[in-house]
C-alpha cells in the first residue's frame, strides 16, 4: 500500500451551526477504490461537499490533508487544481454555457499548459464514447435539459477529461437504472490506475458489484464507525442499515443528522 493521498483526521463540520460531521478519520491511498456507505442522514454528502470546499459548510475541527497539504481554507478551484475532483449527486445546470466550452476551460485550468484544440476535440470524442453520451452533447448547454442519467454520465465525462488524483463520487449511482450504474462503474474501472484514488460514496451496494472496492467504510452519525473489505458491503446488504445502527448502539434517530439541502 502506497502512502495515503488523502488523510482525514477528526473532521468536524457543521452547516448553519448544526454539527453534521463529528470526527471523521479516513485514509485513501492512490490506486485504491474506497467505498463510503451509510444510511440517509449519516453525513455522506456533507463529507463530499466539505472535501471539495463548499462555502455553506464550516469546518470546526480537524484536518484534511491532500498530497500532504492542508486543504481546509483552500478555495474549491485550488483544490481541483491540486488534483481533487467531486462528481456531484445533483449536478448544477448552467444556462447558456456549452458543455464543450466549459470542459475546455476546466481542462485548461487544471493543466499547466493549455490543451490544443485538436487534442481537446479528440479527447472529448473518446470520453463521450466512454460514458455512453452522444457526440452532440458537446454543443449542448451544461447539464441543461439533461436527464438524471445523462447528468451523472456527464460527471464521469469530466472525471475522465480532468484526470484527477482523487475522485470523489457522491452517490453517482443513485437514480440510475442498472445500465446506467454499469456504464458508470465500467468507466470507473477503465479510469482506475495507480495514479488515482477513488472515494465512492453510495447508499446502495449495486455499484460495488461492478467495481470492486478495496476498502468499505461505514459512516454513521457523522463518523466512520467501521472499515473493512468487500465483505462489509455484503454484510450490509444482508442485514440492512437498521441492524448496523443497532450494532453500533445508535437508535435510528441518533444516527440521522440533518444534511443541508443541495440545489
Amino acid at each position: 500500500m502506497s502512502d495515503p493521498i488523502l488523510v482525514i483526521r477528526d473532521l468536524h463540520a457543521s452547516v448553519d451551526g448544526k454539527p453534521i460531521l463529528r470526527g471523521v478519520d479516513l485514509d485513501i491511498p492512490k490506486g485504491e477504490v474506497h467505498a463510503i456507505m451509510g444510511p440517509n442522514g449519516s453525513g455522506k454528502s456533507t463529507l463530499a461537499s466539505v472535501l471539495m470546499g463548499h462555502p455553506s459548510y464550516e469546518v470546526t475541527e480537524g484536518t484534511i490533508k491532500f498530497k500532504g497539504q492542508e486543504v481546509i481554507g483552500m478555495a474549491p478551484d485550488e483544490r481541483a487544481r491540486l488534483g481533487m475532483f467531486l462528481a456531484f449527486q445533483y449536478p448544477t445546470e448552467i444556462p447558456g454555457v456549452p458543455l464543450s466550452a466549459f470542459l475546455r476551460s476546466a481542462v485548461n485550468s487544471v493543466r499547466e499548459e493549455d490543451i490544443s484544440p485538436r487534442e481537446f476535440i479528440q479527447q472529448l470524442r473518446t470520453d463521450l464514447e466512454l460514458v455512453g453520451l452522444d457526440q452532440s452533447f458537446g454543443r449542448r448547454n451544461l447539464n441543461e435539459g439533461f436527464s438524471g442519467g445523462e447528468k451523472k454520465r456527464a460527471e464521469i465525462l469530466q472525471l475522465a477529461l480532468l484526470k484527477p488524483e482523487l475522485a470523489i463520487l457522491d452517490e453517482t449511482d443513485s437514480g440510475l437504472d442498472i445500465d446506467g450504474v454499469r456504464i458508470v462503474a465500467e468507466a470507473v474501472n477503465r479510469l482506475k490506475s495507480p495514479e488515482i484514488g477513488f472515494c465512492i460514496i453510495t447508499h446502495y451496494t449495486r455499484i460495488l458489484n461492478f467495481t470492486s472496492p478495496d476498502v468499505v467504510h461505514i459512516l454513521l452519525g457523522g463518523r466512520v464507525v467501521k472499515s473493512g473489505g468487500r465483505e462489509l458491503a455484503d454484510h450490509l446488504e444482508e442485514v440492512g442499515y437498521d441492524a448496523v445502527k443497532k450494532e453500533f448502539g445508535y437508535t435510528s434517530d441518533e444516527a440521522e443528522v440533518e444534511e443541508a439541502p443541495q440545489s
Binding site: 478551484d77 447558456g96 466549459f102
Partner: protein, 431 residues
C-alpha cells in the same frame, strides 16, 4: 440665456424647401407650447428629467464645422465590407460610401440634407409621420434636426452586407438631433448597423436621435442600434418602425455607454402576418443608468412579436425596462411574447423591470415575464470544483446568460464585437 434660444428656428429653416420650413416652424411652435415634464408623468417618474432639459445643452448651428475625426475602427462593426457607409460627426456628415452593387440596384443611402434636396418625393410624406412633435424632445428634434441618415431600398433588392451609419460625438456640451428615415420596399432584404460612439466628454452632452422605419410587405430587415458613448454623454433615442403585411423586422439594441441612456423602440405591426423580433443586450457599470422602453403594437390580425432584453449590471448601476404589449381590437390570432432578464453582478446594482399588457382582443397568445437574478454560489462552486477560478467562472456564467441573445446575432463581425464588449465590461468591473 438658455442654450436653445441663442439660435432661432430661422437658422434651421434657412435653405429648406417650403414643405420642410413649414414642418420645422410648426414643430418649433409646438416645442414652445408643450410644458416641460415635471417628473410626475408615468414616462418620467423613474427618471431625472431635469437633467435632460434641452436648455442644459448647446444646440449646434446647422453650419457648424464638424469636430474631431472619429476613431473609425472603434465604430466599424462590419469589418472591411459593407453595402454602404455614412459617417456623421456632431451632426455633420463627413463620409458617404455606397457599394457599386447597391447603387446599381437603385439603393439610396445619403445624409438627410441631401435627401431633402434630391429625394423629397420619398422623404416628405414620411419625415415626422411616425415620430411627431409628441413631447419637448421629439418636437425639438422635428424643428431643429440636423444630420442623420436616409435609406431607400427598392422592391425586391437583397443585400448580404450590412449598411452602416456611424455617429461620432466630440462637441462637448452639445445637443445633437439627427433624424434617420428608412424606407424598405416590398420584398427587400437588408441589414443595417446604426452605431453611436465617442470618447469621454467632460461636459454633459445629449444625443437625441430619432429613427423612423417603413418596412414594406414581405421585406426582411435586420437593424442593430449600438450605443457605446463615452462618459459624459446622455442618450435619448426614439426608434419607431411600421411593418406592412408579412414584413419581418429583427432588431437588436445594444446599450453599453454614456451616463444615461433611454432608448424607445416601438414596432407597429400594421399588416397581417407581420413579425417583429426585438432583442436587447445591455451591460451597465459604474453609476450608469440605462432605460429601455418598448412597445409591441399589434394592429393587424395574425401578427407576431417576440421580445427578449437581457442585461447585466455591475457596481452601482441601474437598468430600467418598461415594455408594453398592446393588442388592438382587430389583432386576433396574434402572438406576443416579452421577457426581460437581468443579472445583477453587484448587490448595489438595481434592475427595475416593468412589463405592461394592454389586450383588446381575447383570441391571442400573450406571455410576459421579468426576472432579476444574481450569480449563484452553487454555480460558482460547481465551476470551481472543476478548477475554474472565480473570475473565469463569472465570465462563463455571464456569457452563458447573454448567449440566448448572442445566438440570434448571425451577421458577420457582430458576434465578436459583442463578445469583446462584454469582456471589456467584465474586466472594467473587476478593476
Amino acid at each position: 440665456m438658455s442654450a436653445i434660444t441663442e439660435l432661432s428656428i430661422e437658422d434651421f429653416v434657412a435653405g429648406s424647401p417650403d414643405w420642410l420650413a413649414e414642418l420645422r416652424r410648426g414643430a418649433w411652435k409646438r416645442y414652445g407650447e408643450l410644458p416641460y415634464p415635471e417628473g410626475r408623468e408615468e414616462v418620467w417618474r423613474f427618471t431625472d428629467v431635469k437633467a435632460l432639459h434641452p436648455d442644459n445643452f448647446r444646440l449646434l448651428p446647422p453650419d457648424a464645422a464638424p469636430g474631431a475625426t472619429p476613431r473609425l475602427e472603434a465604430l466599424d462593426l462590419a469589418g472591411v465590407s459593407s453595402a454602404g457607409r455614412l459617417v456623421h460627426v456632431d451632426g455633420s456628415t463627413v463620409e458617404r460610401q455606397l457599394s457599386d452593387e447597391a447603387r446599381s440596384k437603385g439603393v439610396i443611402l445619403c445624409d438627410l440634407e441631401t435627401a431633402v434636396r434630391e429625394h423629397a418625393e420619398l422623404l416628405r410624406p414620411r419625415l415626422g409621420s411616425l415620430v411627431g412633435a409628441d413631447d419637448p424632445h421629439t418636437a425639438l428634434s422635428l424643428a431643429a434636426h440636423h444630420g442623420g441618415t436616409f435609406v431607400y431600398v427598392p422592391k425586391g433588392v437583397e443585400l448580404k452586407e450590412p449598411f452602416q451609419a456611424l455617429h461620432w460625438l466630440s462637441a462637448s456640451g452639445a445637443l445633437v438631433l439627427p433624424r434617420t428615415v428608412v424606407i424598405i420596399e416590398d420584398g427587400a432584404n437588408v441589414v443595417f448597423n446604426d452605431v453611436y460612439d465617442s470618447d469621454a466628454i467632460d461636459t454633459p452632452t445629449l444625443a437625441a436621435p430619432v429613427t423612423e422605419m417603413f418596412i414594406g410587405a414581405n421585406a426582411r430587415v435586420g437593424w442593430v442600434t449600438w450605443q457605446d458613448w463615452g462618459a459624459g454623454c446622455k442618450h435619448l433615442a426614439h426608434v419607431r418602425a411600421h411593418l406592412d403585411r408579412d414584413a419581418l423586422l429583427n432588431t437588436l439594441v445594444v446599450t453599453l455607454g454614456g451616463d444615461f441612456s433611454r432608448t424607445w423602440k416601438e414596432c407597429t405591426l400594421a399588416g397581417e402576418g407581420a413579425q417583429s423580433y426585438m432583442y436587447g443586450l445591455y451591460f451597465s457599470h459604474g453609476d450608469q443608468r440605462f432605460e429601455h422602453w418598448t412597445l409591441q403594437d399589434h394592429v393587424a390580425p395574425n401578427t407576431t412579436s417576440d421580445l427578449l432584453y437581457k442585461g447585466a449590471l455591475s457596481d452601482t448601476s441601474q437598468a430600467l425596462y418598461y415594455g408594453t404589449i398592446h393588442i388592438r381590437p382587430n389583432a386576433r390570432k396574434s402572438n406576443a411574447y416579452q421577457a426581460n432578464r437581468n443579472l445583477a453582478l453587484s448587490s448595489h446594482a438595481r434592475a427595475l423591470p416593468n412589463p405592461q399588457l394592454e389586450i383588446e382582443n381575447n383570441d391571442v397568445r400573450c406571455t410576459h415575464g421579468a426576472t432579476v437574478g444574481k450569480i449563484s454560489d452553487e454555480h460558482l462552486f460547481y465551476l470551481g470544483s472543476r478548477g475554474i477560478p472565480p473570475e473565469e467562472a463569472r465570465r462563463l456564467i455571464v456569457f452563458g446568460f447573454f448567449n440566448q441573445v448572442l445566438e440570434q446575432v448571425t451577421w458577420s463581425g457582430m458576434h465578436e464585437r459583442l463578445a469583446d464588449a462584454i469582456r471589456a465590461k467584465m474586466e472594467g468591473q473587476q478593476a
